[in-house]
């Protein structure tokens, strides 16, 4: 236990459940329930021309949506501040952790590449949205199957074979751990909505497999000492191991389609 820190649900960092492959219209999907917080991620893959400044790369476009149905404090309309922050956070995680090499998404340099639209929708908001979104994204990406594409020489058009599909090459498995800070002293892991509301600051640490730090997100709030920060990071490493185990179990229990 941290000094004054509290771990939820006796030892595990909040009960985490994942359901893979729930949506058949999406190329990959996952539903993650972290306590009460529920996030669904659907990934659709489309073709596009690669960006002119990086002709051998594809696109990964995340979008976090916090609709009014997840909590009464969100209104319908364009994405509010919180949704934009979450979207940018996910974009940073994807970029920094190199979860997918964008070069893998390129089919024909300069002409055709895959775009992965990752749409994360929060269905129930009870705090710790960033952790849940990261898990959902990771689980959905593991689930994505892209059809085989060949560029025929005669017509220079793409030919898609929907029958042959292959999984994405997921290089790393970033796992996010969030903490709520109270007045420089108290740290709570995996805060619920109420705890987040009362906290004076939050911190999110995204860890990789080999204990490498991918991303640290601390949007203002009260300060933390260096020692506390180190503590958080070691917590994040433990959390990563637990989540990875859970994910491997779920993947194994799913037969390949």
């Amino acid at each position: 236990r941290e000094d004054g820190g509290r771990v939820q649900n006796c030892g595990t960092f909040g009960v985490l459940q994942e359901i893979f492959g729930s949506i058949s219209t999406a190329d990959g999907s996952a539903l993650v329930k972290l306590g009460n917080t529920t996030v669904i991620c659907g990934i659709k893959a489309e073709f596009a021309a690669p960006p002119t400044d990086a002709p051998d790369k594809g696109y990964v476009v995340p979008n976090v949506d916090l609709p009014p149905l997840c909590s009464s404090r969100f209104r319908s309309g364009p994405p509010g501040e919180e949704a934009q922050v979450a979207s940018q956070f996910i974009a940073d995680v994807i970029e920094n952790s190199q979860i997918i090499q964008k070069e893998d998404l390129c089919i024909s340099p300069g002409k055709l590449a895959w775009v992965l639209y990752c749409d994360l929708i929060c269905l129930d908001y009870d705090g710790n949205i960033l952790d849940a979104c990261t898990f959902a994204l990771l689980a959905a990406l593991k689930n994505v199957q892209l059809p085989e594409v060949t560029i025929s020489e005669e017509t220079a058009l793409a030919e898609v074979n929907l029958k042959k599909k292959s999984f994405l090459n997921i290089r790393t498995h970033p796992v996010a751990t969030s903490f709520a800070v109270f007045d420089d002293t108290l740290l709570i892991v995996d805060p619920t909505g109420e705890e987040e509301h009362l906290a004076t600051g939050t911190l999110t640490v995204v860890m990789d497999e080999e204990g490498k730090l991918c991303c640290l997100h601390k949007p203002g709030g009260s300060g933390l000492t260096g020692a506390k920060l180190q503590d958080c990071m070691s917590r994040a490493v433990t959390r990563h191991k637990e989540v990875k185990k859970l994910m491997d179990e779920v993947v194994k229990s799913m037969k390949p389609k």
Partner: protein, 272 residues
């Protein structure tokens, strides 16, 4: 989207791989025109909403949440003649605000989040169908917010959304005269085809006309009707409405069971 700087930018345009796919989609199989797909309904599953419901019918998955009653926006309105039964005067009655959203991954082709006209039309249809069922006079100057989210479109999405919204309202404890049950129909193009109850997505895509009916089963009154397309003579439309109403009646017991189960679950959790 070109001017939208609130979302992460992607490429200017993109095409789905299905456009380039070699094989053709199979035509929908012939089936009994009055078959209803088995429905899975569950109420009371979101912790943050006052009432919620999830409905799954074949491939269509809809989640609906209700919040409120909340102070209505808008200025003071003058009183009018009071309604019967001690309800607020007509001008002070509560409002129902409906929001219909389609998840970007819900259909075959990705739809960017601001859905545009179609979502607004469906939201309005939801509101028109739910208003007769809710006792808005009991919520003066308040508004109830109903948000429906379509997670996967497997055909008859509006009908499923209507049913889910009514279940969510009931789950929230909002006073209602009756539940609203929705049913979708579609008619394939051709010389003299029949109307199909509860179409799948394939059938809906190839349809020449579509219809959604909303029925209040106990009162046996039609709460809403939305249809479009080339349906043929008026008798054909009347036949379709009759078929739809029958379908709604058949769905009703499932929904009753769902609400009873949700109430039991809530009871079991409450005394803690």
């Amino acid at each position: 989207m070109p001017g939208d700087h609130r979302r992460i930018r992607g490429p200017e345009e993109s095409q789905p791989p299905q456009l380039y796919a070699a094989d053709e989609e199979e035509a929908p199989a012939a089936r009994d025109p009055t078959r209803l797909r088995p429905v899975y309904a569950r109420a009371g599953l979101l912790s943050q909403a006052k009432g919620s419901a999830y409905l799954e019918a074949g491939g269509t998955k809809v989640l609906c949440a209700v919040s409120g009653p909340r102070q209505a926006e808008g200025g003071e309105r003058g009183g009018g003649p009071a309604g019967a039964g001690g309800e607020a005067p007509a001008a002070l009655r509560g409002r129902l605000l409906c929001d219909f959203r389609r998840a970007p991954f819900a259909g075959r082709r990705r739809r960017a989040p601001p859905g545009g006209g179609e979502e607004r039309e469906l939201a309005l249809a939801l509101q028109e169908a739910l208003e007769p069922a809710v006792r808005l006079g009991r919520y003066p100057r308040a508004q109830l917010e109903v948000s429906a989210l379509l997670l996967e479109d497997g055909g008859s999405a509006l009908a499923a959304a209507l049913t889910a919204a009514a279940l969510a309202l009931a789950d929230a404890g909002v006073e209602m005269y009756d539940l609203v049950v929705g049913c979708g129909l579609s008619r394939a193009p051709g010389p003299a085809p029949t109307w199909l109850l509860d179409p799948t997505r394939l059938e809906e895509e190839r349809a020449a006309a579509g219809l959604t009916v909303a029925l209040m089963p106990v009162l046996n009154q039609v709460a809403g009707l939305l249809g479009s397309g080339e349906g043929g003579p008026t008798e054909s439309w009347a036949e379709a409405v009759r078929l739809g109403l029958e379908g709604c009646q058949r769905l009703y017991p499932v929904l009753q069971q769902c609400l009873v189960r949700a109430a039991r679950r809530r009871d079991a959790a409450a005394p803690l």
